[in-house]
Symmetry: C2
Subunit: 285 residues, 2 copies
């Protein structure tokens, strides 16, 4: 029998996944079953079944996405850039191992090529098999899975993509470099002259420093830079931020929005760049 | 020495407040100190000091508000109705024992009378003494503290208030009746012919049934009914909902917004009624 990782606790009251937020706050989720767990060269990869969030993808003990609300994050990181760019043909996703971002991109008929560069093949395997609510059991022929390091991959591409989506995990371990300015500069060079990029930039409530630094880097590199937010119940702090860097386009075209979304609506798209006062102030500093 | 309540756990790693969400999810907050604790006739009232949320008000083991984000909820439940009503003179707050809503209302010079009806005097005492980041150590002479049952109080008032703010705790125990249609009908009668009310209507992620029922009741009673949301990091699910019932006015006047807010901005006010697709759909059912 496989040994349980230390973030799984069993007691008289059942089995719990305990997510530790820097030893200041702990969130314990009741779970019914561990559906999948393997150690990859990069991290511990696990899918669990929980009674109120459904299936959850857990990497190194941190909840990444769930059946209940995975679509919120994945819709926000894709439909915003794809309704801003008027004619996205080549789209690159860096990270995004849960396949949910790729699934959303396939809803746009004008997209011809979707390259997904994920460092950890086991994450994709786990989600395709056991997290189909999020991954959608992706079989669209436009999607190319490339199991490689996004940092290296992007260096070789110049003037190629219309849209780059950086769907990374938290800036600890392998993902740290995905938050550095030199990486965003390589993304800029991989984009066509009217291309644009979006990255997830963490929680404004708990990781303001990361958001601030990300926004500043992108602001220095791109003529257009904007932050937008969404509410993701299973992320600490609830509110999540995304940062857009664009060479030319800045406005959402509501008429372009794909029809079958669960969270994003035209009303929501038109207001997601309206930031709370504290956040506007913090970003201006 | 006072015995610790069972939602406080002490172990080798310090002292933790454990908030139990229906035995499905548990949120543990590291705390440095219990600053205040008393049993009132209604509930266990506690103020704790935590390293990352500052002071927290805890009623029967459930976090109600914190120094870090208490202003978000209190600004959203007050500045929305006070910028919709063109001339609010008499304002009633039902609940709101942390005094934060009353504090926000005092920012409006045209308001002449602020009646705050809170059932539990100990909550007000605890917050005035130990949670001044939220309560603001309120001393505005327009504020009248009335320690009484809001259910009974409202029955005696007819055609009197311009704005009624229902700042209740969760619909368990004494607050249950504050979510019933007969109560909202009494609120309607206590309002002038052009008056309006706002209530907190729980988390759309976790308490959709309560929100749906609240919205339906208010929709049946008032010619104008609308739901708006805010992001409150320490509330489960992050997103919180508020429901407006109005006899006449429906549009926010951005020019009226008080200057010294931390969360609410004109941009945020103008978009807070834009709801995610899932919520629009759920409310229409």
């Amino acid at each position: 029998m496989t040994q349980l990782p230390n973030f799984i606790q069993k007691n008289d009251d059942g089995m719990w996944l305990v997510e530790d937020e820097e030893n200041m706050m702990k969130i314990s989720y009741r779970i019914d079953e561990i559906v999948y767990q393997k150690q990859s060269p990069f991290q511990h990869v696990m899918v669990v079944q929980s009674p109120n969030f459904g299936r959850m993808l857990v990497l190194d003990g941190i909840v990444q996405t769930t059946s209940l609300d995975g679509h919120i994050y994945n819709e926000m990181i894709t439909h915003v850039p794809l309704t801003i760019h008027p004619n996205p043909k080549r789209v690159l996703i860096i990270g995004g191992g849960d396949c949910g971002a790729a699934r959303e991109v396939t809803k746009y008929k004008e997209v011809e090529e979707i390259d997904m560069v994920e460092i950890d093949a086991l994450v994709v395997e786990a989600c395709k098999l056991h997290l189909t609510d999020v991954s959608g059991n992706l079989s669209d022929p436009r999607v190319n899975f490339i199991f490689a390091d996004g940092i290296e991959y992007i260096k070789a591409k110049k003037d190629y993509y219309d849209v780059v989506i950086i769907d990374s995990s938290d800036p600890i371990g392998p993902a740290t470099q995905l938050f550095e300015k030199s990486f965003y500069n390589n993304v800029k060079e991989a984009l066509k002259e009217d291309g644009l990029m979006v990255c997830q930039s963490q929680s404004p409530a708990f990781h303001m420093k990361v958001l601030h630094q990300t926004y500043r880097s992108i602001q220095e590199l791109f003529p257009i830079s904007k932050v937008y937010t969404a509410v993701v119940p299973t992320y600490p702090g609830g509110m999540w931020s995304f940062t857009l860097g664009s060479k030319k386009y800045s406005e959402v075209d509501l008429s372009k929005l794909a029809a079958d979304t669960k969270y994003v609506s035209p009303a929501l798209l038109s207001q997601c760049f309206a930031l709370p006062a504290f956040l506007q102030k913090a970003l201006a500093e």
